[in-house]
Point group: C2
Chain length 329, copies 2
């Protein structure tokens, strides 16, 4: 199996991206990596490695590029070369990019074939919850800023199929809204509510954003705009809390510093739970290949985890699971 | 000055609501309270108190009521009686309710006169940030699920006027979006972006939800649906983090428990910073009276703080500040 890694475009690309990909190769033996980007730079970094192929694509798409323009005008960019390679090669099963979210989503959706029946692919990160190992899928987190109700319904189907590959047989689905009552929500939500209510899915109704990390749901469905806001609010609050704790300890004298030393294992565990470096990237569901968007600020460890996660996603047969769901309703 | 308190409708009403109102009377001497609700119940709780007036309104609007129906069909409810009293009495300057958010918003907007020029009132809680005493106003958090761009623009104006009453002379305004680039956002956001960009306001552009608690902004503008999701995501994550810390300490043996004892003052301070019980309710801006929606789960202390906050809001002349802004652009 080949995993294509867009070696440029991330905040710490290409150094950390390449290091992360190489680290993943050390950990797992049954795959090879295809790096896309400026060949002279990459060759020097990689050296002689039989498990790494380099595709020369010297252009880079940045956050300043307008995604649709970039897809059209930068065919020799590391991102477009990566997607082209993915689509052209049977053995290339997955792709990782830490580049501009907008560009990754736009290019993936425009250039990659969708699973039959899926109108719009959706970005589906897996978030931690307060219930230990229990995770929750938040779909969509930014691929569809203005979807229709049918799209939201399909996000629920895809999320459920994804949850099933994680061993959850009858995934519990919540619709992200501004209240738990059936009549809550904007026009889009109300329409999606009706579709979900009438379906065979295990639909638990509207949920408030307060419940996202509660561990009471397996899949939370949202439009991409609100889902993105929910995701980043959770992330930002977790970072803020750590920052407040740190400030408190710095200002709390010897007593607080001693307390911190004693609680260090607890904080470490929580940080690991809440940290995107450990939670990997977000998969774009609905395409016939696995494309994972890693965090823009990913360093070596995060890139490595995202590559390993991509292999796991390929092996989990999530694409087959969604295809089956679309065939059988 | 009279502060009207809807004594029913909250999760812990009427007991905690009444206790909270009485506690506020003990703390501040220059106001009186008007309680609305079942007179026989309230009279027994209050006893003989010259600073409390009771308005009999035995009906209760609950979360199960459809707000618009409830406003029409339950004129003798504690909420509607409270709003009617507020509007009919010059000396009644503010209102507190911990009842159904939907009903409070709907009834307030339908029954209370708006400030001239304001098309839609908006719910504007004040959130803590990581920068010490610095706060941020998030407007709107649920009053307008589907506003127009002009409404968002007016939310920015109202938020800025509110921030000015807190001593911030040139409030920095961010537009909540799914990315920081100028072209990010849905149709509504893009239109609002243009209006804000062309205005005299100190508009800092689109912001991601990750930045809400960063302390870099004074006012964050959003539609009510997304703002509600942002607010509750932040709230839910803070609660989840405390829950994870607690679990970690419980499972961490004597070492962790000792660490907790030493860090208790730090945790207490952070909890106070992040806790709605200390941060008060959310004011509905744009009306010619101060209406504050307290948290549904408010107990005595939270109700007391919300009553005191309402008095502060009246004294801050935020209504006059918004009126002036609407007159002078």
């Amino acid at each position: 199996m080949e995993i294509v890694v867009d070696a440029f475009g991330g905040d710490y690309s290409p150094q950390e991206t390449v290091k992360g990909a190489l680290r993943a190769l050390d950990i797992k033996k049954d795959f090879t990596v295809v790096l896309t980007g400026d060949k002279s730079v990459l060759s020097e970094m990689v050296g002689d490695n039989a498990r790494v192929k380099i595709i020369d694509a010297p252009d880079v798409i940045t956050n300043d590029d307008v995604p649709t323009d970039a897809v059209r005008n930068k065919p020799n960019s590391s991102l477009i070369a990566a997607i082209d390679y993915l689509n052209a090669n049977e053995d290339a099963k997955g792709l990782v990019s830490t580049g501009s979210t907008g560009a990754v989503l736009t290019a993936s959706v425009l250039l990659t074939r969708r699973i039959k029946g899926i109108n719009r692919p959706a970005l589906a990160p897996v978030l931690p919850t307060v219930k230990g190992d229990k995770k929750v899928i938040l779909i969509d987190c930014g691929a569809n800023v203005e979807p229709k109700a049918l799209n939201l319904f399909q996000f629920a189907q895809m999320g459920a199929a994804y949850a099933k590959t994680m061993g959850i047989h009858y995934p519990r689905i919540g619709l992200l809204s501004n209240g738990t009552e059936d009549k809550k929500g904007n026009t889009l939500n109300k329409e999606a509510f009706s579709l979900l209510k009438e379906s065979k899915l295990n639909f638990a109704g509207n949920i408030e954003a307060r419940e996202i990390l509660s561990g009471e749901y397996d899949v939370i469905v949202s439009d991409g705009f609100s889902g993105n806001i929910a995701l980043k609010s959770c992330e930002g609050t977790a970072v803020s809390m750590f920052s407040l704790i740190k400030d408190g300890i710095m200002q709390g004298g010897i007593r607080a510093k001693l307390g911190f030393l004693l609680l260090k294992p607890v904080f470490k565990k929580i940080k690991k739970t809440m940290d995107y470096n450990d939670n990997g990237g977000a998969v774009l569901l609905g395409l016939n290949k696995i494309i994972v968007k890693g965090h823009g600020a990913s360093k070596e460890k995060a890139v490595c985890n995202t590559v390993l996660q991509t292999i796991d996603l390929v092996n989990s047969n999530v694409i087959e699971s969604i295809t089956e769901c679309m065939n059988n309703g």
